[in-house]
Amino acid sequence: MNARSFIIQGLILFIALVFSIRLFSIQVIDDDYKLAAQNNILQKIVDYPFRGLIYDRDGDLLVYNTPVYDLMIVPKEVDLEDSTAIMELLEIDHAAFVAKYDKARRYSSILSSKFVEQIPNEDFARIQDQLVKYSGFYPLPRTVRGYEKGILANTLGYIAEVSRSEINRDTTNYYKGGDYIGKVGIEKQYEDKLRGKRGVRYKIVNVQGVVKGEFKDGEYDTASVPGQSIQLTIDSELQAYAEKLLDGKVGSMVAIDPRTGDILAMVSAPSYDPNHLSGRNLSEYGPSIMNDSLKPLYNRPLQATYAPGSMFKTIQALIALQENKVSPNEKIICDGSLIGDHAPPGVYDVERAIQLSSNNYFYKVFKRVIEQGDHESRYIDARIGMKKWNDYINRFGLGQQLGVDIPNENKGFIPDIAYYDRVYKGANTWAFSNIYSLSIGQGEVLVTPLQMANLGALLANKGHYYTPHIVKAIDDQGIIEPKLNDVGIDEIHFGPVIDGMQKMAESNFRVLIPDITVCGKTSTVENPHGMDHSGFMGFAPKENPQIAIAAYVENAGWGARAAAGIASLCIEKYINGEVKRQWLEDFVYKGDFLDERQKRELEAMNKAKKLAAQ
């Protein structure tokens, strides 16, 4: 045979060999193509779970799901000659259409991406029939939150699309872009219960994305698991009433059932309509809510801290009694010389001192607690006393998180030895004379309204409290047993303190409720930035207490007026179911709590500010 014939035969064999090797490489060795083939034909359809519902303590619905539709676009399939009709249908202008279309195309021309987000059900019903006429547009059903009563916004929180940083932080790799996640409040705290579990269905599609059948008869499909429903401890009626009372004011109110630790109501004012942070409203109202100077998103009952003021005297009395530094009937003469006082000079025992809120009495009593004479140096003596005092205070749940089941709880602040050592730059540099304002709840001490409501509860229970909580039951766990805490004060010591609180309440016409024995303590919280804050803490009825309450109204001046009025009305509403004291309601709604003297003070203060500004 001709030599060149062999060259040609060699060439043919060579090519066949190259092909065999190449084919072996892409068909047998390399798995990428098998994966790519799967990706080609498999369309993953995410089945979004139904988010858990939220009910109040009576089983009334608070938060539900409302359907919305994301309009998805596959740019390659869109017939741009029809675009005018689509723009009319979706009520968007040409510029917006082009911008959205270009954005989708930059992402992918054959994969679907969001074109219009969260079209409400009503609007969708209008365009649904028309939509089928236009190729390249598909609706994707989603749900957003709806709020039946429009109350409890700060506590419920809201959901929104998961952010990139949240996805990165998620170690379980559950979240995918476009998922919703609880951002704050109960939605965040109970996210893993509420969210349920995404389901997924695999469909076989052809190159146009037309579904040709199920993948392996649905063997790999998973059904979505709906989220669990949550029942709150909230009494909707009381909550709504309290929100109404606090409307137009800055402050908070917390009511707890002392028998269980159930939070009956928790108001942060000013607040917002939770529906305004749901679905499409989020982009419309979100920025103005978030940028409001009064910070409606700030959950004051948990996050705001105030000096406790005179409420703190109940604690001081209990510690002194337990430490045996004062006996219930011991009469102490107070002439008002030690510290400024609204209480008149005279002879005081525990009960009267609480009733009239004698600053001088508690100055003396607190001095006995701090200076127990265990050491000759008054500095070292104060350290020993301070240590004992701190041990008691901690058991009252102050200076630490109570462990409520809502995120972002503030610890408040209770000064201790380390703190004073730091402030006074060294050990043994401070004594009682440096810290006496603690005796009346002023100075460095800071508490949250929730901690003060809890104080009301532990007073009502005479020495123990259940950790306050807002979730009563979860679908799979049933009723959640609250944790019982003991504050380490003997029950017997509560008698005179509670009697004092009762007398105080009876002597204040805005607190007094004709058929309910209220025990309470007002606070005027000194505010270096403006008018004093008004505070009230208490419980009712005296026998078998049903509600413990704390209220703060910022810049409202004297204690009894704003906070006490609100608290008293809430107690009446909760226990009697209705409020008879119309005049007090009107007073609170009006929101004008300053008397003549305070108004003059305020005027002077504003003038001074103006001058300073000039």
């Binding site: 014939s5 090519i15 092909f19 084919l23 083939a37 599609v205």
Partner: protein, 422 residues
């Protein structure tokens, strides 16, 4: 004498491989078109497979006709047949239908015919006839020029139609020239030009020019001993540099945009997977997902759901790769290799130069189709739209390959008579 009968002289091995390829091609055309929702049978005329059956049946008729015609006809009428089809190529340029950018079709009723396909066997006949004249030596410059002209004329006319792929097929006849004594330098220069062309696309002009200078200097130092040889090497270097410089011009002015894209795609396969690279990407995915044994007949998802374009015609190999896997693909390669090697064996045993040269033309054309069709589906060569012989759907191509092959079998069957005649 019984043994004189045609039926005993035909090379049945080639016939067998031919029918194996045609039949498995037919099954694969059905698989490529298969849509489980429509559920039409393989014989349905709404399917490509149904239509292909008509082409197969008519091919059998053609085979019978070819076998009935006197074998001397092909030698005698070679130039006339060639002239007729070259004329048709000119006519189609003036009167033909344009289909996807190529003006190469005649519409006859509902069927379209592509004269450029048939020109392949016509050119093979003419080239064989010209080179076989004993007075001519293929080593002669004159013979070579006319030999080249015989296939360059239809090639240029087909380029003019806009069908670069089919035109390139005629280039394969260089192999025939090589077999018949053409100086191998032409083949080497041809390959060098192709390599240089690809290099200009991959490397920057500066690197390329420096490389050419270095290679030229090496050439001078190692090979060229006499001044005239030095001059030749230096000249080659200058020509190479000029060529490299002009590729830019070729890319932008000679190749059409879709052809430019296909070349660029080969150089960087991941450049644009959803655009120009779609076809290569998808055909590789389809073949690659087949694995060792394939997904099974009619079970290929990529071809079934139309991810691969032109899957019954140019990309029919994807269906084999996906559904029959590496084993099926290998068997296909083996079948083609067997066919080609057998044809070379047959060509070499011819007594008449005409039959031998024609045989090599058949081998060249089939080999070119086989090599470049499969190379493009597995991403070794840019996409040029040429069918896989006997396999791809389409009447013109099946007829052409059938005629091409069976004329040679007819000539082979009569190879002893040539001697008798002399």
């Amino acid at each position: 004498m019984r043994n004189d009968q045609l039926i005993y002289k035909i090379d049945w091995m080639v016939v067998l491989v031919y029918f194996i390829l045609v039949f498995s091609g037919w099954l694969n055309i059905y698989a490529a078109d298969y849509d489980p929702d429509v559920n039409e049978g393989i014989l349905s005329f709404s399917q490509s497979s149904g239509k292909q059956l008509i082409w197969i049946a008519s091919s059998v008729v053609l085979i019978v006709l070819i076998m009935l015609v006197d074998f001397r006809f092909y030698d005698s009428f070679a130039y006339i047949v060639y002239g007729v089809f070259v004329a048709l190529l000119i006519f189609v340029l003036l009167l033909g239908q344009e289909v996807s950018g190529s003006q190469s079709w005649f519409q006859i009723g509902s069927y379209k015919l592509q004269p450029s396909e048939f020109t392949k066997f016509a050119t093979a006949l003419a080239l064989a006839k010209y080179l076989s004249k004993s007075t001519r030596k293929t080593e002669d410059i004159r013979s070579q020029v006319i030999g080249f002209a015989l296939f360059l004329v239809p090639m240029l006319l087909i380029i003019k139609q806009g069908d670069l792929g089919t035109a390139m097929v005629f280039g394969s006849l260089v192999l025939v020239m090589f077999r018949e004594g053409m100086h191998p330098l032409i083949l080497i220069i041809g390959i060098a030009v192709a390599l240089l062309f690809l290099s200009t696309l991959i490397f920057s002009q500066t690197i390329l020019l420096i490389s050419i200078v270095v290679i030229t200097l090496l050439g001078v130092g190692l090979v060229a001993k006499t001044p005239s040889k030095i001059a030749v090497v230096v000249l080659a270097g200058i020509v190479a540099a000029g060529f490299a410089k002009s590729v830019d011009f070729i890319l932008t002015d000679v190749l059409k945009p879709h052809q430019q894209q296909r070349v660029m795609q080969l150089l960087n396969p991941n450049r644009d997977p959803l655009g120009a690279g779609w076809q290569v990407t998808q055909s590789k995915i389809a073949i690659g997902s087949g694995g060792l044994t394939g997904k099974g007949y009619l079970q290929g998802t990529q071809t079934k759901f139309n991810f691969v374009p032109d899957q019954t015609t140019d990309n029919i190999f994807c269906t084999v790769g996906e559904e029959q896997g590496w084993i099926g693909s290998f068997l296909l390669l083996a079948a083609f290799t067997t066919l080609l090697l057998r044809l070379i064996y047959l060509a070499e045993r011819q007594k008449s130069p005409f039959a031998r040269i024609y045989g090599y033309s058949v081998v060249s054309i089939l080999f070119f189709h086989f090599a470049f069709n499969i190379a493009m589906t597995i991403g070794l060569f840019p996409v040029i739209g040429i069918p896989l012989p006997f396999f791809s759907y389409g009447g013109s191509s099946l007829w052409t390959f059938t005629i091409l092959l069976f004329i040679f079998l007819k000539l082979d069957a009569h190879r002893m008579q040539v001697l008798q005649r002399l």
